[in-house]
């Protein structure tokens, strides 16, 4: 949709429906489904620690308003939520609960791992913290920071929106899933990747 859509001859011509030639719009089912899904993503309340406070700030403070994306309704029940923002450190005691909440969410569902602790264990490399929530649940987008500013969380959510808007469905999706799994199985462990000039 072009930005200079408004023609203010007293008539508001900003809607998409005004731009369609003869009233027809051609798109793909994938694009349409993606558009719908990304614009009404409801997060589940999964604030664990300090990142939860920044998540509350993005939800309710004046400056960082996620209502403009339709996301201010943090659903308490995971059954009604699409996005699980794991905000905070996941301890070993909490891990089965995280998994249970993830399982209770209905597909399609996405996971945003917010903060260093959720992404990789953060500064707490010890007996009590799961070193990255991706040990337990599949993560779609990682957000570093300790804690990440609300603007950073917003950026991650917008990137996730883009990702969701372009997701494939059906046969295409199954193909991608297989490809990703194969590449993950064949991947070299990070610390064995040769650095320039050094023998692996």
């Amino acid at each position: 949709m072009s930005g200079a859509a408004a023609d203010w001859n007293g008539i508001n011509q900003m809607g998409l429906e005004e731009k369609l030639p003869s009233g027809f719009l051609l798109t793909t089912v994938e694009k349409l489904a993606g558009y719908m899904r990304k614009n009404s993503l409801w997060p589940a309340t999964f604030g664990l620690a300090c990142c939860a406070i920044e998540m509350m700030a993005i939800g309710s403070a004046g400056k960082y308003d996620i209502s403009r994306f339709g996301m201010e309704v943090f659903r308490a029940s995971p059954r009604q939520a699409d996005l699980m923002i794991v905000a905070g450190r996941v301890s070993n005691k909490m891990a089965p609960v995280v998994r249970q909440i993830y399982d209770q969410m209905a597909a399609p569902k996405w996971v945003l791992s917010m903060g260093a602790c959720a992404s990789s264990g953060g500064m707490f490399n010890n007996y009590a913290i799961v070193q990255g929530v991706d040990h337990i649940i599949p993560v779609d987008i990682y957000l570093p920071g300790c804690p990440p500013r609300p603007e950073m969380l917003m950026d991650a959510i917008l990137k996730l929106h883009e990702q969701i808007g372009n997701e494939k469905l059906g046969v295409n999706r199954a193909k991608i899933v297989k490809e990703v799994e194969a590449s993950a199985i064949a991947a070299t462990p990070i610390h064995q990747i040769p650095v320039f000039g050094k023998q692996g």
Binding site: F46, C50, A61, F74, A76, S91, V97, N126, A128
Partner: protein, 442 residues
């Protein structure tokens, strides 16, 4: 995941566990049961439990007969982590315990380290004043979260917006002074990490006027509001004897009428030189604690005003202890590529002074040595008495760091407050205790 209710016989009678998807089966079985005691699990993922707190309620109808708290879902092992880092690096760990009032964690830890080092009187006055000012701002931001989330849990949504709006202004101050909104690691053993940037005090004076005006928004919404009073008056009752034996401190203790505030009774950081009141209530209930928190905001503003006056007089004074073998060496400044060591400092350590270079290197990599001993330094955090029990074996790393977390002790009192009341009152009572699970579980 097939989950069907199974009944099993125990010493307490027949117990049915309901895990979902099986209500018909359960209902038909329970229909024949004589007793009607239900155990409900609230949490750990629950919007009203202030973080990952698990409440196990045994109910008879809507009335609670027994309440138990399950904690430990945020246990991070921070105390053990500090044993593998230097004393200064401990600040960054300790600041993440009570994440709503990080500066209090830092201050109590640093006061402990300074007591072990014996430099409590050598900490410059400007550093103490800055500490007090930052702590009082932290008290304001913490109480704002307590009020906002407390109101939200009881169904009042607008106070949360007002509270977080004001909190953003306070977080802007934190960002201007220390670079971060939360978990700043700004207060270090010996003083503070860096001095206030220019124009901070003037900006704070403007902000105080603004905050004073805007605190009235929330007050107008809730104080005297008949729905609010009905939900909070007489709820979560815990009298003085209960508080004392359970070791409960902070607004909960002051709501019983006891004017115990460590800033007045056992002052630290120069608090004896400030003029402020200790707010108490005598109703021992949630409404009293709510009023206390609202009025403590005003008292904090008073203290901050006095800090601003003192800071104007102490312009240019050092903010780190003079002993170069302990003082954090880096002088940070904002350069083209972000916050880093100031060019003056680099010129000094690379060109002028070999000692400064050695101090910088040794203190950052190895840390300073703290003489052996143990201390306990308490401060009055927004939740109660926060104390650090530090044990040193004479090395560069702590031997044992234990935090007496106010939320841990205060949360023990939920059973005393809530048994015999209704489920809705549990939410109000827990909100009035204002536990922060990072503090509880550490």
């Amino acid at each position: 995941m097939s989950t069907f209710a199974s009944s099993r016989e125990t010493t307490e009678g027949t117990i049915y566990s309901v895990t979902g998807g099986d209500w018909d089966q359960v209902a038909s079985e329970i229909g024949s049961a004589k007793e009607e005691r239900v155990v409900v699990n609230m949490g750990p993922q629950h919007p009203s439990t202030h973080g990952v707190l698990r409440l196990m309620l045994e109910l008879e109808g809507e009335t609670i007969t027994e309440l138990r708290c399950g904690i430990g879902y945020l246990h991070t092992g921070i105390e053990k982590n500090t044993e593998f880092r230097t004393w200064t690096q401990g600040v960054t760990f300790v600041t993440r315990m009570d994440y709503l009032s990080p500066l209090f964690n830092e201050t109590t830890y640093c006061l402990g380290v300074e007591k072990l080092l014996g430099i409590t009187n050598d900490v410059p006055e400007r550093a103490s004043v800055i500490r007090v000012m930052m702590m009082e701002f932290n008290r304001i931001s913490s109480h704002m979260v307590a009020l906002g989330t407390g109101a939200l849990e009881l169904g009042a949504i607008t106070p949360m917006f007002f509270a977080f709006r004001e909190r953003e202004k306070v977080l802007d101050v934190f960002e201007k002074v220390s670079g971060l909104r939360m978990n700043m690691a700004y207060i270090r053993p010996g003083g503070v990490a860096q001095d206030l940037p220019d124009g901070t005090v003037a900006g704070i004076r403007e902000l105080i006027k603004d905050l004073r005006k805007n605190f009235k928004d929330n007050a107008k919404l809730l104080i005297g509001n008949s729905i609010w009073i009905k939900r909070t008056k007489g709820v979560g009752y815990l009298d003085l004897a209960g508080c004392i034996t359970l070791g409960v401190t902070g607004p909960v203790l002051r709501s019983t009428g006891m004017p115990w505030d460590l800033r007045k009774t056992q002052p630290y950081c120069g608090y004896e030189n400030y003029d402020f009141d200790v707010i108490t209530a005598d109703t021992c209930d949630v409404y009293g604690r709510f009023l206390i928190r609202m009025q403590e905001l005003e008292q904090s503003l008073r203290i901050i005003e006095q800090c601003c006056d003192k800071l104007d007089k102490l312009d240019g004074a050092p903010v780190m202890v003079a002993d170069k073998k302990i003082a954090w060496p880096a002088q940070l400044s904002l350069g083209g590529d972000g916050l880093g060591n100031s060019l003056d400092h680099i010129r000094q350590i690379m060109g002028t002074s070999m000692e400064a270079l050695i101090h910088h290197f040794k203190i950052v990599t190895e840390g300073f040595r703290v003489p052996a001993g143990q201390v306990y330094t308490p401060v009055e955090s927004p939740r109660g008495e926060l104390g650090a029990h530090l044990v040193s074996d004479g090395g560069t790393r702590p031997y044992r760091v234990h935090f007496r977390a106010p939320s841990f002790s205060n949360l023990q009192s939920t059973a005393a407050m809530c048994e015999g009341s209704l489920i809705a009152d549990v939410v109000a009572a827990v909100a009035s205790i204002d536990p922060v699970m990072g503090d509880v579980d550490r």
